[in-house]
Structure formats: C-alpha cells, structure tokens
C-alpha cells in the first residue's frame, strides 16, 4: 500500500499520534494528566480492534509550559518521531508559540486544553480545538454574573500574556453588553497579599467579581476577601478548574462558598457517571486519582478518534483535516454540549460547565451548566 507507506506514522498495523504538553512543573495538570486521559481512550479503542484495524500509539513530549520548549517538542514529534497527527497543547502561551510550526507543517492537530484565542483565531487550516477558548470563557463569565442578577460587577485580573488573552475579550464583551465594570483591579501571578485589592473592591460595593487569575493569586484574593468578610459572587474560569484543590489552597473554611468556576467537562471526578473512566485511569496509572484534567483528555481523545474513523481506512493528512472540520453535533459523554467544527470556525467546543463547592461537601456541577 504505497499511499499508506508515505503517510508519516501510519503502518498497516498502527498509527502513531503525538501529544505535547507539560509533563513536569505546575502545568502538568494540563499536560500529563490530560495525556493520561487520552491514553485510556486509545487503550479502549485498541482493545476493541483499533481504528480501521490499526492500533493507536501515543508518543508524549514535554513542553514544560515553555514556549521555546513547545516549539522543540512539536518539531521533534513531527520530524523525528514522524507522528501522523497531534493531540495536545496544555499551557496557552506554549501552544501559541508552537502554532506557526504546526500550521506550516500541515499536520492535523486537535488542541485539548489550551484556551488562547490566537491558537484558533484566525483559523489555521489544520488546527482545531476541543477546548473552550479565552473569549468563550470570558463571555461566559460575564453572562453568568448577569444571569445571577449581579448589578455591580468588577474585574480582578493578571496582566501577563495569559491574563491579557482573557482580559481583552472580557472588556470588549463588557462594552458589547453595555455594562461598565465598577472596578478593575490587577493582581500579579506571584502575589502573596491582596489586601489593597480587596479593600478597593469592597469600597466599590461590588456584588460580583470576575477573576482572571491563576489558582495562587485567586487563593490569596479569596483568603483576604474572607478576612474582611467580603463575599461577592466570585467567578473563575478553567485556570481554576478544581474547586476542591482551590478550597485547600485558600485554607479558610467557608471562604469559597460564593465561588463559581468554569470546567470544560460536565462531571466531577467523584461522579458515578465517570466510574468507567475512573477505573481505567486508576488501573493504568497506579497512585493517580481521576481528575477533571483526565476527563478533558478523555473528551478530546473521543473527538480525535471519531475524526480518525471518518478519515477513512487509508487516512492522509488531508482526509484527517477534512474529517476534523466536518465534525457536527458530536455528543461526547463528558462534554456539556455538542462538538461542532467547521471550515470557518475551528473552535469546536463552545459550552462551559459551572462548578461550585460547599464546605465539607463534594464539588457539584451547577444546573445552569450546558445552557
């Protein structure tokens, strides 16, 4: 089969798929854990005979959440490992840096965790995303605040590359909605105190705060807000996707009762609906406990496999790219809404889930999720 032989990473028995993301450091949640989710889906597919008779083989590369390392990781996967397609991308800045290499190579790629708008907008012919994007999340944050009846809405944000990627579309959406934030504060990623910010927001009589923050500054903010008995509706995003861990990071009982955050998946790790995935993850990776990041990988891998099936028995880069673009209203068990891609818009996942956690109780998915 000469046509097959010329496709990188494809043999008569297997298809080699490349994954890139952080395997070490704080960003491993969006890399290693997501890849673990991808791998258990591939295992299940392989156990059922593979895709058109070929077994899926996952090759991982560590981008350390670092832009330069991400470029190196992607180049290694494409040119050295000669994988057929890519699934991955954890830290946004790293994935954004690798976009040019991926786009130039034309290798079919499905992003599964990075949210920066620049990864999918303007669309590159071969790059699709099963992750929410910064704009989708930012708009969902403001919509959520308004839906909850908040009148005096404030923003507290980081202004680094990650923060700007969310802050800019958020402020544009404020303008589009005709809403003016009553306060607009900044907090650095390494802040250890947020007294000044809390006092300013409290003085502004805020009833909802949209947080464009990593978990650490967000925890510092919630801790200091609790100190001053300031408990507005606090609205996070997928950067703070684990309310249970966040509660421990804040460290003050009851401090996050008014905290709500976005998740890409509609189940918590404790949910019985994901028992199957829990069993697969905890069997394959002893010592691991199922996390939402695993489920992000599980969801994206199912989208990827569906496209690979649709690419036909002799998949090529062109047929795989076309298959990704043609995914329409695909319901995946873990995602809150259907997955739909198109040639014009490569942001295939547009529906967030909302999470909350009460003291001493498990994380719960809010009924508004998916709507």
């Amino acid at each position: 089969m000469p046509a097959i032989a010329q496709q990188p990473g494809v043999t008569s028995k297997s298809i080699k798929i490349g994954a890139f993301g952080a395997l070490t450091g704080p960003g491993y949640l969006y890399g290693q854990l997501v890849m673990n989710g991808v791998e258990v889906v591939f295992d299940q597919v392989n156990a059922a005979g593979g895709v058109h008779g070929r077994k899926l083989e996952l090759v991982r590369e560590d981008d350390r959440c670092d832009p330069a390392a991400a470029i190196g990781a992607v180049q290694k996967l494409i040119h050295q490992q000669k994988v057929f397609a890519l699934i991955g991308g954890g830290c946004s800045n790293a994935t954004l840096a690798a976009r040019d290499v991926i786009e130039t190579s034309k290798i079919p790629t499905l992003i599964n965790a990075s949210v920066h708008d620049g990864i999918t907008t303007p669309p590159a012919a071969n790059i699709f995303s099963a992750a929410l994007t910064a704009t989708i999340e930012s708009e969902a944050q403001l919509d959520f605040a308004l839906k909850q009846g908040a009148k005096r809405i404030a923003v507290i944000s980081m202004r680094d590359g990650w923060g700007r990627g969310r802050y800019t579309p958020l402020m544009a959406y404020f303008k589009a909605k005709g809403v003016t934030p009553v306060a607009d504060e900044e907090l650095t990623p390494d802040a250890n105190d947020a007294t000044a910010q809390v006092l300013r927001l409290k003085a502004a009589n805020v009833d909802a705060v949209i947080m464009v923050l990593y978990p650490k500054p967000a925890a510092v903010f919630m801790r200091d807000a609790s100190k001053f008995a300031f408990k507005p509706l606090a609205i996070g995003q997928t950067g703070i996707a684990d309310p249970k861990a966040f509660e421990e990071q804040v460290g003050i009982p009851g401090a996050i009762t008014q905290f709500r955050t976005i998740a890409m998946v509609k189940f918590t790790p404790e949910d019985s609906a994901v028992d199957n995935w829990r069993k697969l993850i905890e069997t394959k990776f002893p010592g691991d406990r199922l996390s939402v990041f695993n489920l992000v990988g599980v969801g994206s891998a199912q989208v990827f496999v569906e496209a690979l099936k649709n690419a036909g028995p002799n998949p090529t880069w062109d047929s795989m790219t076309a298959a990704l673009a043609n995914i329409k209203d695909l319901n995946i068990d873990v995602y809150p809404g259907p997955i739909s891609c198109s040639l014009a818009d490569h942001r295939c996942n547009r529906v967030p889930a909302w999470l909350a956690k009460d003291p001493g109780k498990p994380v719960r998915v809010l009924p508004s999720s998916g709507g």
């Binding site: 949640l29 290693q32 650095t188 000044a196 650490k216 100190k227 460290g251 003050i252 009982p253």
Partner: protein
C-alpha cells in the same frame, strides 16, 4: 485612618516575608561577598521538604520546623562544598554565576520530584485559619506568625554575630578574608557555615510562610527578587537593614495599591529603591569603605 491601618498592617506582614529572604542573602554576603542567587530556590526547596515531612510523613509542626532547618543547613553546606568551594578563588562574577546554576539545578530537581503533585501545593496553617482582631484590625494569624518569626530570627542572628566565636569569625572573614587567614581563621569552614546558615534561614522562612505563599517549583525567583531588593535597600551587609528594607518594600506596595491603584503595586517598591539609592548609594545601612593611602 482605618484604611491606612489595614494597608500598613498588610505591608508590614508582606514585608516580613521579603525580610526573611533578605536576611539569608545578607548572611551569605557578609561572609563571602557573594550574592546568592539560589536563595529563593533554597526557600522553595525547603518548603517542599517541609511539605513532605509534615503533610506526607505526618510529622508534627515543631519537628518539621527543626528538621527542615537542619536539612536546609545541610543543603547550603553541600552547595558550598560541591559548587562554590571548587571555584572559590575565581572572580566574583564566576561565583555569582555558580549560584545561578545552583538555582536552576534546585528548580529542576523540584520539578521532577514535586512538579506532578499539584499545581500549587497547599501547606496547612500552623495557626487557626480564621482571621482574628488585633488592635481593632482583622488579621490572619499566619501573617502574625511570619512577623514574629522574622523578629525572632533577626534577634537570634544579631546575637550570633555579636556574641559567638563563629559569628565573629564570619564577620572577620567578610571584612578581610586574607587577614582572617593570617590570624588562623579557617575561611573555608566559614564559607560553609555561611552558606549553611543562609539556607537554614531560607528553610525557616519557608516553613513559616508556605501556608501563605503555597508551594510550586517556580516560587523561588519572584521571592528572591523581592528579598534581593530589600537587601539592596538595607545596604546588603546589614541584618537590621534587610528587615527594614523588606518592611519598606512591603508597605510601599500596599500603600500604592490601596491609594493609587493595584496596577502600580509591583512598580512602587522599585521606585522607592531608586529614590533611596539616589540619596544613599550604599543603602540605608550601608557604608562606604575607605582605605588610608
């Protein structure tokens, strides 16, 4: 007035954290004349060590505190032996670069050992997590613990340098290493002691502040930067100067954030440093050395 009081209290407690890092820098600098760029990584690494002892192995807080300080001292002494002493006679730039290398090594090890445990590891507070009222102001007890720890460490080290033989030998080595050798001081041991002591201070600081800072492998450099700024403001050789520098930085950040805007918080301490150094180029407690010719 109440706003000012809160901002002042917040600035002092944040400044205490900077001061603890600055103290370690000053101790090493006093003895060796070298700025230890790995001080932030000593802090980070020790925090993870304490997390292993306290959270994973279940040791009580006091034992964790003592063990972590001992391990921190050992780490500092080991660093001196394997990375500093072999090039001790090299120029100061090489020595400083060696400490930068140590910082990268420690961060790399931390990423491998603890980089896959959680994005930001939480460390249980040694005090009640609930805010308390002090002089009519709401404060988090852990912040007071950091403040108290800073004062205790400052007193202990002031006493160490003034009252103990080892402390006096460290001072003598810092003043004039060649003269110290001539009077029989084993400067190699002094350097080991200095690195060990600096790392031990970082370890004590890490255990005290980990509930506030949380733990992650990239924690070290931002902490170092603020500690270094505090040490520069204090004059680089003065323990009280380091503490005062840390507190001034913390208060400058807090007041600027409260009265101007939170976007100027990061900038404000460095403006203060520039102003201080214009009027006192050697820092608040620094002095110009002069030589009789």
């Amino acid at each position: 007035m109440i706003l000012f009081s809160y901002l002042l209290m917040s600035g002092v407690t944040t400044g205490a954290l900077y001061a603890l890092v600055a103290l370690g820098l000053v101790v090493v600098n006093k003895a060796t004349g070298v700025i230890n760029f790995a001080q932030g990584e000593f802090f980070m690494f020790s925090g993870f060590v304490a997390w292993v002892l306290h959270v994973q192995l279940g040791l009580n807080y006091a034992v964790t505190f003592l063990f972590t300080i001992a391990i921190g001292f050992g780490l500092g002494a080991l660093t001196d032996r394997i990375a500093f002493r072999p090039i001790a006679k090299a120029d100061v730039v090489s020595l400083v670069l060696a400490t930068v290398g140590i910082a990268f090594v420690l961060k790399g090890i931390a990423r491998v050992l603890w980089g896959g445990k959680g994005d930001y590891l939480s460390f249980p507070s040694i005090t009640s997590p609930d805010p308390i009222t002090v002089f009519g102001l709401m404060v988090i007890p852990q912040q007071l613990a950091v403040l108290a720890g800073t004062i205790v460490i400052l007193i202990l080290f002031a006493a160490f340098f003034r009252l103990t033989r080892a402390g006096k030998m460290m001072q003598a080595t810092a003043d004039n290493a060649k003269a110290a050798v001539l009077v029989g001081i084993q400067t190699d041991k002094i350097y080991t002691l200095a690195f060990g002591t600096g790392a031990a201070i970082a370890a004590a600081a890490a255990v005290l502040t980990a509930p506030i800072t949380l733990l992650y492998p990239d924690l070290g450099f931002p902490i170092f930067l603020k500690g270094f700024a505090a040490a520069v403001m204090g004059g680089l050789m003065s323990l009280p100067g380091a503490v005062l520098g840390g507190v001034i930085l913390g208060v400058a950040e807090s007041l600027a954030g409260g009265y101007i805007h939170s976007s100027v918080m990061e900038l404000s301490p460095f403006i203060v440093i520039m102003i201080v150094l214009v009027f006192r180029p050697n820092g608040l407690f620094g002095f110009q050395t002069s030589r009789r010719v």
